[in-house]
Amino acid sequence: MKLLDVLREELNLTGTKQGCGTGDCGACTVLMNGKAVNSCLVLALDAAGSEVTTIEGLSSKNGELDPVQKAFVKHGAIQCGFCTPGMILAAKDFLGRIPRPTEAEARDAISGNLCRCTGYAKIVEAVVEAHKYE
């Protein structure tokens, strides 16, 4: 069983989406020990003992959104929302390594995520500007 199936089917954490199931779309992205991974490529058994953060767990305990989430809201980087959890978690990991990315770096950050609504311009904007919401 894949980590993705455990999250969605057993734990009812449906914020994590399934698109392709083969590592190509990024909709299933979660943080495993702080690193963005495709949960459709990770065996649940293999994730045992790791800290897994899904989109449900990204905001702080009092419900305040993470700076990356704030940036996505402010910049209208969301259309239907299907790709959004994966985009935000991919960006979260990347921004931890490169906090003030150039536009090219921001594109690289989300290069593993497809947006079927094609809203990339706003998403890239949000990733570039996210540090301002810290």
């Binding site: 963005a36 065996l43 293999d46």
Partner: protein, 287 residues
Amino acid sequence: MRHFEFHQPRTLKEASNLLGRLGPGAMVYAGGTDIIPRTRLKRLHPDHLVNIKRIPGLSGVQRKGNTLTIGALTTFNDIIFSDVVNSNLPILAEVARTIASHQVRNLATIGGNLCNAAPSADSAPILIALGAALSVCSPRGKRRVLLEDFFKGPGRPNLKRGEIVTHVLLKKPRPTVGCAYMKHKIRQSLEIAITGVAVALDFAGGECRDARVIVGACAPTPVRARQAESLLKGSALGAQDLAAAADAVRKEISPIDDVRGSAEYRREMTALCLKRAAEIAVRRCGK
């Protein structure tokens, strides 16, 4: 998904003994980024997966003197963000950036990329160009194999049952050596190479002292283009020399027609990629 048993040995010895005992239905499991999608697509039917990620000491990049050691479990993102790589052999980070996507690179290991033995494996051409060797461990002991001799065919690495690749070993090239990798693809990321050409040139005093040209995705295994190499060697690496090498490489590969490109297209793009890679490599010599 198919049922299989998942084993999590803690030592190399335990892992290779297990693999030997479980027989041909057992596979090493590293990042899983090749195994999982291929199992899902029913192209692979493992009975046992032996996870080697609980074994200590197989991850990270170290430098001792002029030797760089890369643990088989080192992920491509580990390579991209490694200080040792960026200050000693930045070409490895550059190649890693052409692979898959940020998320996949957090999982995909260099050992898995090589042992999967796909003709298009992006890490292979540059590592062969740099003369890399693999350290392999089995119940019988340790051996070393040149990466150049490691690929026997698509999906067929030079490994016997129970053998596990533990490290990639390579020498830091001399300052007169410049390297480049040109991966031809349509999309910027998440793209398998249509052709991929790695070039390493040793250029000093206006003369090319040594040249390595390795082509991926254009034959059952990565190909060392020896004729192109011999045309570059001893030359001044002028435009005509590069053109002659590019012309030669067309005949040294045996590409197939597939969804990503026809054989003819691959030959043309390989020639062009060789020229471009060589131009970049020359500029990097002595830097």
